[in-house]
């Protein structure tokens, strides 16, 4: 197994050194309690344990679950393609009967698990997918997304593991007037690498790749999103908010590249990090590569601390220091979380963030 090291620029903030050791650990086969991970949404519910689909815990509603034997060429994708035992192959056509949001809970019981998925939406088709990762060990997931003309996909990824590592790679291609929207919340894993490459290859395509990283203790969390504007008139947003406390590290790199003929591109990139302790580390790296001349690319990257005046203002009104900190941190995360379009999902992910904040009190 050959994984990239920090010597490679695109992996400089990732900590993959412990993955081999995690893979060698024995699995804990206790049956997981999944009840509180499901959102109140009417749609299929799928459970994967260690990368294997578990029919008895799932409610497929006719969705086919088959192993995907290919993954995008990528250091993590190659491993997933070689080792994945199962996966989700979701294809939807525009006239397919509505199935509602697809919820997937991935349970990692320890050791290593690999999963390769593929989502294909035909012209004009819609789908919403919410994935929740729980448990321990190393989970490696890859997803290939292909959206045809005017298709719309909304994805949400929650990483709520108790420890271990999470690596996640998505390669998405978006045709004209199609829309790819993703939001991620990463907490819990000792180390995580979440990477998405989105290519807008048709006129007027849309991409949104947002997320929050919540790191404390000695966690090392790392997100990397790339939006490649290959066609004219595309719009993209990358909004990331990360929080690092204790000795943790939260890193976000965002890249926007605009090809020579991708005129009228409108790209917004906002990467902000909040340090809750002076001993924590946050990295934010915005990258723009623009070859077209008639484009709008707004970008901002900051690393800061909570506003002392605001903290005192809240305390002077009766809110204790921990409560003031939590309220201001939640407001900071709102920039990213409030962009989630589905209200039920938005509330659930916000609740995940609040639970993370409350755990420190």
């Amino acid at each position: 197994m050959s994984l990239p090291t920090r010597k490679t620029e695109d992996w400089r903030w990732s900590d993959l050194s412990g993955l081999d050791a995690l893979a060698a650990q024995p699995a804990n086969d206790a049956a997981p309690d999944l009840a509180h991970y499901w959102l109140d949404l009417d749609g299929p519910r799928l459970v994967f344990v260690d990368g294997r689909f578990v029919e008895s815990l799932s409610d497929r509603r006719g969705l086919a679950v088959t192993a995907v034997r290919s993954a995008p060429r990528h250091p993590l994708g190659d491993i997933a393609a070689a080792k994945a035992t199962s996966g989700l192959w979701l294809t939807r056509s525009a006239n397919a009967a509505a199935i509602g949001p697809v919820q997937i809970v991935h349970v990692a019981s320890g050791g290593a698990s690999h999963l390769a998925s593929r989502i294909e939406l035909a012209a004009g088709a819609h789908a919403e997918i919410i994935e929740t990762h729980v448990g321990a060990g190393w989970s490696n997931v890859t997803c290939t997304v292909a959206l045809a003309e005017g298709a719309r996909l909304m994805r949400t990824t929650r990483v709520l593991k108790d420890g271990g590592a999470h690596t996640d790679f998505t390669l998405a291609t978006v045709a004209g007037a199609a829309s790819y929207t993703s939001a991620a919340l990463v907490a819990g894993a000792d180390s995580a690498r979440i990477e998405a490459r989105v290519r807008l290859q048709g006129t007027g395509a849309f991409a949104e790749a947002d997320g929050v990283l919540l790191a404390r203790g000695t966690q090392t969390l790392d997100a990397f999103t790339l939006v490649d504007h290959a066609a004219p008139g595309g719009t993209s947003h990358q909004v990331w908010r990360s929080v690092a406390d204790d000795l943790a590290t939260a890193s976000v790199a965002g890249r926007v590249s605009v090809a020579r003929d991708a005129q009228k591109t409108d790209a917004v990139q906002s990467l902000k990090a909040l340090l809750l302790a002076r001993t924590a580390t946050a990295n934010a790296k915005p990258e723009l590569e623009i070859w077209a001349d008639d484009v709008k690319c707004a970008h901002g990257a900051t690393v800061g601390e909570l506003n002392r005046d605001a903290l005192f203002y809240l305390q002077s009104r009766g809110v204790d220091p921990a409560g003031a900190k939590a309220l201001l941190t939640r407001a900071f995360l709102g920039d990213a979380l409030d962009r989630i379009g589905d209200e039920v999902v938005r509330d659930a992910v916000t609740a995940d963030a609040v639970a993370w904040l409350e755990a420190a009190r």
Binding site: D309, Q315, S316, V319, L327, L328, A331
Partner: protein, 246 residues
Amino acid sequence: MLEITDLHATVDGKAILNGLTLSVGAGQVHAIMGPNGAGKSTLSYVLAGRAGYEVTGGSVTLDGRDLLALPAHERAAAGLFLGLQYPVEIPGVSNLLFLRTALNAQRKLRGEAEASGAEFMKLIKVEAEGLGLSMDMLKRPVNVGFSGGEKKRNEMVQMAVLRPRVAVLDETDSGLDIDALRVVADGINRMRAPDRATLLITHYQRVLDYVVPDRVHVLVAGRIERSGGPELAHQLEREGYVRVAA
């Protein structure tokens, strides 16, 4: 009700308050006036318990309770309210969430039942209307995009909802046009009650035309140099701090 005795305080090692003694009784409004640098804002921050303001001597009690022994949030729950000279903007937190969080945090600390959503809305609606702040504004983030006058009105709404025992208002009148000044003064007057005291810290006599104080104190170099009735404010306006304090 509020007893300040021989209070000494430093900021960054520099002595700002140098033996300040002041007693504000229940039902009274006292004005503290003084030139720039006299220690007016330092006094308000020391009373509220802001980090970085070090008390090096003296005592402060509220209803006999040692205020200086409490962290800032517990002083608020004990009944102290600080109206800020420059109210802070907090993006991402609505005025309603801010105030409800504050009210319930105080109630919890006092061992009282928390206000339900409906109870809170009823409470704030009455006060906001009285002070001319619309509910639409209260749904917006705390003070973000508010004019100077709106920020001060917002402080008055917070004070009215939190119903403190002692209100310390740090230049709440500064930067206001005459209409806003009247609204703010009205907010202060409406809070006058036999079981409540107000310490009005101000640079100008102007606000005292609308809020008539029981006592006026002149603060110079961190200590009360003179005290008197409402007429002292007029004398200060005519003659200036230098002559009156001399």
